[in-house]
C-alpha cells in the first residue's frame, strides 16, 4: 500500500476511529441539607438529632480496566456535617467528615423500551472508599470526641433509567453502596485519647470491619433534567440516605442522614 493510499484510508475512516475511542464523561456537583440522627456511645448513650448539610461531587466516565471493557468509573466526594442535640435539648453534638470513593461498575443488564425510547440499565461493581471525620460533644471533658476513619471495599449497584419527558432526555439513577470489608479506627470501650495519643498505648484501635460489626448502607437517588432540549448540562436533584452503623469495641455508633440536594451535572464526550 502506497503512502498516498494509506493517508486516503486514514482520512476516510478517521471519524469512525475517533468515535470508537470517544468516552462520555459527566461531572456533577450538588449541595443541600437534611436531617441527621447520630449515636455514639463513647460520648453519650442517646441519639442526637438535628439538621445536616451535605455537599457532593461525582464524576463518571467509561473505562477499560481489570480486563473488562465498557466499565463505568466513578469518583465520589462527600462532605457532610450535622448539628445535633440530645433528647433533652440541652447539649449539642457536632458530627462531620469527608468520604472519597472510587467505583468500577460493570454493566449487567439493559432493557430497551421501544414504545417510549427509554432505557433501563443495571450495573454493579466494587468500590474503594475512605472516610475521615469526627463526632464532638460540647459537654464532655476527657471523652469530648470520637474520631471516625475507615478504608473500605464496598459493593455498589446502580439502576439507571433514561427516558423522555417534556421533550427532554432525563435520567433517574439509583445507586446503593454496601461497605463490605476494610479497616476502621475506633477507641476502645473506656479508653481515653490521653492513652492513645499521649502515651501511645494501642488497644484494638484498628478494627477489621465487616457487615457483622459495620452493617451499613448508603443510598443515592439522582434525577437529571437537562436545562434545555438536547442540552448536555442538566439540573440534578438528589436524595442521599446514608445509614452508617458500627459496633466496634462494644461501642455503638450510628449516623443516619437524609439529605436533599440540588446542583448541576454536565455530560461531554472526551476523545
Amino acid at each position: 500500500m502506497s503512502s498516498k493510499t494509506l493517508i486516503a484510508y486514514l482520512l476516510l475512516f478517521s471519524p469512525f476511529m475517533v468515535k470508537a475511542q470517544q468516552h462520555e464523561r459527566s461531572h456533577s456537583f450538588v449541595v443541600g441539607g437534611g436531617y441527621a440522627s447520630v449515636l455514639d456511645t463513647y460520648l453519650s448513650p442517646y441519639s442526637h438529632t438535628g439538621p445536616a448539610a451535605h455537599l457532593q461531587r461525582q464524576t463518571e466516565r467509561e473505562v477499560s480496566a481489570f480486563g473488562q471493557h465498557n466499565l463505568t468509573f466513578q469518583t465520589l466526594f462527600d462532605l457532610d456535617c450535622a448539628f445535633t442535640e440530645n433528647p433533652a435539648g440541652n447539649v449539642n453534638e457536632y458530627a462531620g467528615g469527608m468520604r472519597y470513593a472510587l467505583a468500577w461498575l460493570k454493566p449487567l443488564k439493559e432493557f430497551h423500551f421501544t414504545n417510549n425510547c427509554s432505557v433501563l440499565a443495571f450495573a454493579a461493581g466494587p468500590q474503594l472508599s475512605t472516610y475521615f471525620g469526627c463526632v464532638y460533644n460540647e459537654r464532655n471533658g476527657n471523652n469530648p470526641a470520637q474520631a471516625k476513619a475507615d478504608l473500605m471495599l464496598d459493593l455498589t449497584a446502580q439502576a439507571k433509567w433514561d427516558f423522555n419527558l417534556l421533550k427532554r432526555r432525563m435520567t433517574l439513577a439509583y445507586q446503593l453502596y454496601l461497605p463490605c470489608i476494610g479497616l476502621a479506627f475506633s477507641e476502645n470501650y473506656g479508653q481515653s485519647y490521653y492513652e492513645t495519643f499521649q502515651l501511645g498505648n494501642y488497644d484494638h484501635n484498628i478494627v477489621f470491619a465487616h457487615p457483622g460489626n459495620m452493617p451499613s448502607m448508603r443510598h443515592l437517588l439522582n434525577l437529571d433534567i437537562p436545562v434545555r432540549k438536547s442540552s448536555k448540562t442538566a439540573l440534578r436533584f438528589s436524595y442521599a440516605g446514608y445509614f452508617m452503623q458500627s459496633t466496634f469495641n462494644r461501642l455503638r455508633y450510628h449516623s443516619y442522614t437524609h439529605s436533599f440536594m440540588i446542583g448541576i451535572t454536565s455530560r461531554f464526550l472526551r476523545l
Binding site: 449515636l39 459537654r139 476527657n142 470501650y189 473506656g190 451499613s216
Partner: protein
C-alpha cells in the same frame, strides 16, 4: 447463576441488616433516669471492685436500696437528691451529677479532714506587687533563705516549655525548691506530666494505666506502663520538697505520684486527696450530665492512689503558726532543705 440474580442475593443479605441503636433506657421518667444512671455507672465505672474492698460498696444492693426511695410524684429536685446520694456512696470526687441548678458531688476526700492550707498566709510568702513572678498557673519567688518557692494552684491552664525553662533559669541559684500543690484540684494530665519532666534526668517508670474494655466490672485492658521522660529544656537538679494536702487531687495527685519516683524529691504535708481515675462524661435521658472515673492510674508499685498518697514526711498546720503569719508546712519544708544542705 446469572449475574443479576447473584447481585440480588447479595443485596438481600445486606437488607437483613439490623439497626444499631441505644441500649440504655431513654425514658425520661423518674424510674427511667434512675435506671439509666445505675446502668451507666454499672457498665462504665472503673473502681467497683476496689470500692467494694475498701468501702464495702455493693452496687446491686445500692440499686435495691435507692430504688425503694423513688416515688412517681417526686419532684425533679427530690430525684436529683436521691441520685446524688446514690453515687455519693462511691466516695469518689470524680463522680458528679450536674443539673442546671446544682452539682451533685461527694467531696469528703477533703471536707472530712483538716485543710492544712491558709491562702492568706501563703500570699504573705509570695509577697505583694512584683515580689513574685507568674508563669501561666505558676507563681514563684526566692525566699529569704535562698529557697525557691513555687505555688502551683491548678493544672487547668497549659504550661509552655518557655514558662518552665525561664522559671527554672531564674531559680537556678537557689539551694532547694518547694513545689506547693496544696489545694490543686487538678486539670490536664499533659500539664502535670510537663512539670514532672523537669525533675528527672532519666526516663522513669511512674505508674501504670488501664481502662474498661466492656460492661463487666472486671473488663479491663492490660495495665500499660507510664513513664516520665526528661524534658529537653532546663531541668531542676537540686533537692525538691512537694507540699501536699487533702485537696491535692486528680492531676495534682498524679503529679505527686510521679514526683515520688524521683530521687531528689520529698513529699511533705498531708495525704493527698486521690482521684486516680480519669473521668469521662455521659448523660441521663433528662439531660443531666454524669461524670465518673473511667480510666485507672496505678503507682509504680501497681497500687491504687484513688484514696490518696501518703507523704514522706507528715506535717500538719499549727493554728498558732497561722496566727503569727507562718505556714507550718512551708516552714518544715524550708528546714528540711536547709538541713539537707548542711548535711
Amino acid at each position: 447463576m446469572s449475574s443479576v440474580r447473584k447481585y440480588f442475593y447479595i443485596l438481600s443479605l445486606f437488607l437483613c441488616i439490623s439497626c444499631v441503636n441505644e441500649e440504655i433506657t431513654s425514658s425520661d421518667t423518674i424510674r427511667g433516669n434512675f435506671e439509666a444512671l445505675w446502668q451507666l455507672m454499672d457498665q462504665r465505672y472503673c473502681f467497683f471492685d476496689y470500692k467494694k474492698e475498701q468501702l464495702g460498696v455493693d452496687w446491686d444492693e445500692i440499686h435495691e436500696r435507692y430504688a425503694a426511695k423513688l416515688s412517681p410524684d417526686m419532684s425533679s429536685q427530690q430525684l436529683f437528691e436521691v441520685l446524688c446520694n446514690m453515687i455519693g456512696e462511691l466516695r469518689d470526687g470524680h463522680v458528679n451529677l450536674s443539673a442546671v441548678y446544682d452539682l451533685g458531688r461527694n467531696w469528703s476526700y477533703y471536707e472530712d479532714y483538716d485543710r492544712n492550707y491558709d491562702a492568706e498566709v501563703v500570699e504573705q510568702y509570695l509577697g505583694k506587687g512584683n515580689d513574685y513572678l507568674i508563669a501561666s498557673s505558676l507563681k514563684y519567688r526566692i525566699l529569704d533563705d535562698n529557697i525557691a518557692y513555687v505555688r502551683c494552684e491548678s493544672f487547668e491552664n497549659p504550661l509552655g516549655d518557655g514558662n518552665l525553662s525561664l522559671m527554672f533559669d531564674y531559680l537556678k541559684g537557689c539551694n532547694g525548691l518547694i513545689l506547693d500543690v496544696r489545694n490543686n484540684g487538678g486539670g490536664s494530665l499533659d500539664t502535670a506530666d510537663k512539670l514532672a519532666s523537669r525533675f528527672t534526668n532519666e526516663k522513669t517508670l511512674v505508674g501504670y494505666v488501664y481502662h474498661k474494655t466492656g460492661k463487666g466490672h472486671n473488663d479491663f485492658s492490660k495495665p500499660e506502663p507510664v513513664y516520665v521522660t526528661p524534658s529537653d529544656g532546663v531541668r531542676w537538679q537540686k533537692k525538691t520538697v512537694v507540699l501536699t494536702n487533702r485537696e491535692t487531687f486528680s492531676a495534682a495527685n498524679d503529679l505527686v505520684k510521679s514526683m515520688k519516683c524521683f530521687p531528689n524529691v520529698t513529699v511533705l504535708g498531708d495525704t493527698t486527696g486521690g482521684g486516680s481515675g480519669m473521668p469521662f462524661n455521659q448523660e441521663l435521658p433528662n439531660g443531666w450530665g454524669l461524670r465518673f472515673s473511667a480510666v485507672v492510674f496505678l503507682d509504680a508499685n501497681r497500687n491504687h492512689t484513688e484514696f490518696g498518697i501518703a507523704p514522706d514526711i507528715s506535717v500538719s498546720i499549727n493554728p498558732d503558726d497561722v496566727s503569727k503569719g507562718n505556714d507550718t508546712i512551708i516552714e518544715a519544708a524550708r528546714s528540711f532543705l536547709n538541713n539537707s544542705l548542711s548535711d
